[in-house]
């Protein structure tokens, strides 16, 4: 796969530790929601470092991609992006890469997305892709962050949850909880998932009763009684391990649980 040179169009501080970088690609390659790019930095003395970053923008807009880069303490690539990269900078990359942790609109069963911190990145591409469709599957995003300041894409997600009856959003804060916070306040656990499943199952019944269309029938839970056809989980290793294991326990099929793990 060839290396290419992209140009940074914009840099946006999305949270104290996360910046969003919009990169213009030399050729507007298509990608699928959930894929990532490899980035390669080369120092003047020839030293190189490579890392992978997920695309958070929608595949509807190829040619420009948005990457979510969290500042990792001591991280050589993330610190360069956070401290040195400005619009106009040229960045070497190749991609798009990855084909399992992806979603395309021809999969129409309800989706469960579970994000931990910057693990929202590939899921955001899926969420945004879905939002461009006339007819889209029901979707629940469970988003776990440390503090209110770490809620990436907050306005966009809250607006979507407000306007789209088929998009549900659960945000949970695992550390500092501000005055007046009405969301969840603990790590995502079995009980939180059970509650979400119960709510989703009820919603599916309502939807079936209300419409009775073939689309609704297809979107109904699978025969095992699962409210979600597929789950995508992205975050730190411990986070992904615990949630994926619990989803297996609930009876979801192994193949319906897709994971992407960050960090050691």
């Amino acid at each position: 796969m060839d290396w290419q040179i992209a140009t940074v169009e914009s840099v946006h501080a999305e949270s104290p530790r996360v910046k969003l970088f919009r990169l213009k690609l030399p050729a507007g390659q298509k990608f699928s929601a959930g894929q990532y790019y490899d980035i390669r930095l080369t120092a003047p003395d020839g030293y190189q470092a490579q890392r992978s970053y997920s695309i958070s923008s929608s595949p509807e807009k190829p040619g420009v991609i948005e990457l979510v880069i969290e500042l990792i303490p001591g991280g050589e690539v993330s610190s360069y992006f956070h401290e040195a990269v400005v619009p106009g900078e040229r960045i070497e990359l190749r991609g798009p890469i990855g084909g399992h942790f992806t979603w395309t609109p021809n999969y129409i069963k309800p989706l469960l997305l579970v994000a931990g911190g910057s693990g929202i990145a590939p899921l955001m591409s899926i969420i945004r892709r879905r939002a461009t469709l006339d007819s889209s599957p029901r979707m629940l995003l469970m988003f776990s962050v440390r503090t209110e300041h770490d809620i990436l894409f907050r306005q966009e997600l809250e607006r979507m949850a407000h306007e789209d009856a088929d998009f549900d959003l659960t945000i949970t804060l695992t550390r500092a909880v501000p005055e007046g916070w009405t969301g969840e306040t603990r790590r995502i656990d079995a009980q939180m998932i059970d509650t979400a499943f119960d709510a989703a199952t009820g919603k599916t019944r309502l939807r079936e009763a209300g419409t009775g269309t073939p689309e609704a029938a297809k979107a109904a839970p699978n025969p095992a009684g699962q409210p979600f056809g597929r789950a995508y989980i992205c975050g730190g290793t411990g986070f992904v391990e615990s949630i994926a294991s619990y989803l297996l326990e609930t009876g979801m099929d192994y193949d319906d649980i897709r994971t992407e793990r960050f960090g050691p």
Partner: protein, 255 residues
């Protein structure tokens, strides 16, 4: 040779590998010149400089690691799905002959071992470095298990040619040439660093073929199917390299 603009043009006809060798050898002398070159001159798919990328770097590895890799002290976990529950009471490893369509359908079973049979075979210790396609390398890891040579010998299988597809609990597969898993190059490992291999790292048993990228070292491995022709496994079907040599940076198709 001096590294002026003419030489940057000169690079264009060379393979990336050659360029890297040239650059690594001469780049220190070239540094001042390179920094002063206008960005457009460096615009090539294999050679651009991030002028301000002097910053923090990972400590230099004690010995060379493959291109594009960085040293990792931890042991990251990367899997496409959940960690499948595997019970050693019912665990079995099988080697299947070629033919059939699925992992084992319609093919002859050439050998099979349950947990106690595997542990009764001669055990081999391996001290090795690991290289994951997601860019991390981990040095000096210690493993214990059974070589594929031992399995072939125990089952009375004459060393086959061709390829194998490793198959696993959870449905993961990966393809390898037979010659890359014999002569001590491939093991079934059950012990890491003196402890039973943790489930998230592929326990109770994973394949270990450390001279290839780690996705070839299939977690939760349950068998090998011999193949006359090479055929893509799970990641290989998603655009990852069929062979995966980290020293040649064979991450993706056509690398």
């Amino acid at each position: 040779m001096s590294y002026d603009r003419v030489n940057m043009e000169f690079y264009r006809g060379l393979s990336p590998g050659t360029v890297n060798i040239l650059r690594t050898a001469k780049i220190a002398d070239a540094r001042k010149t390179l920094v002063s070159i206008p960005p457009k001159t460096l615009d090539s798919s294999w050679n651009m400089i991030n002028n301000r990328f002097f910053g923090r770097r990972r400590p230099a590895p004690p010995r060379p690691i493959p291109p594009g890799q960085y040293l990792e002290d931890g042991f990251p976990v990367l899997s496409a799905g959940p960690t499948p529950p595997v019970d050693t009471a019912t665990w079995e490893f099988t080697i299947h002959g070629p033919g059939g369509n699925g992992n084992d359908s319609g093919t002859e079973t050439l050998g099979s071992w349950d947990w106690s049979a595997l542990n009764a075979l001669p055990q081999t210790e391996l001290h090795t470095d690991l290289h994951c396609v997601t860019k991390w390398s981990k040095l000096d890891t210690d493993w214990r298990g059974v070589t594929i040579d031992t399995l072939f010998e125990d089952a009375g299988i004459a060393r086959p040619g061709g390829f194998v597809m490793a198959f696993c609990d959870g449905g993961y597969t990966t393809n390898l040439p037979v010659e890359d898993i014999v002569d001590g190059k491939g093991l079934l490992v059950h012990t890491y660093d003196g402890e039973p291999l943790a489930p998230e790292h592929g326990g109770p048993v994973r394949l270990l073929v450390p001279h290839l990228y780690l996705w070839k070292s299939a977690k939760w491995v349950r068998g090998l199917k011999l193949m006359e022709q090479d055929s893509p496994g799970f990641w290989e079907g998603y655009g990852y390299h069929m062979y995966g040599d980290p020293w040649r940076e064979q991450r993706y198709t056509n690398d």
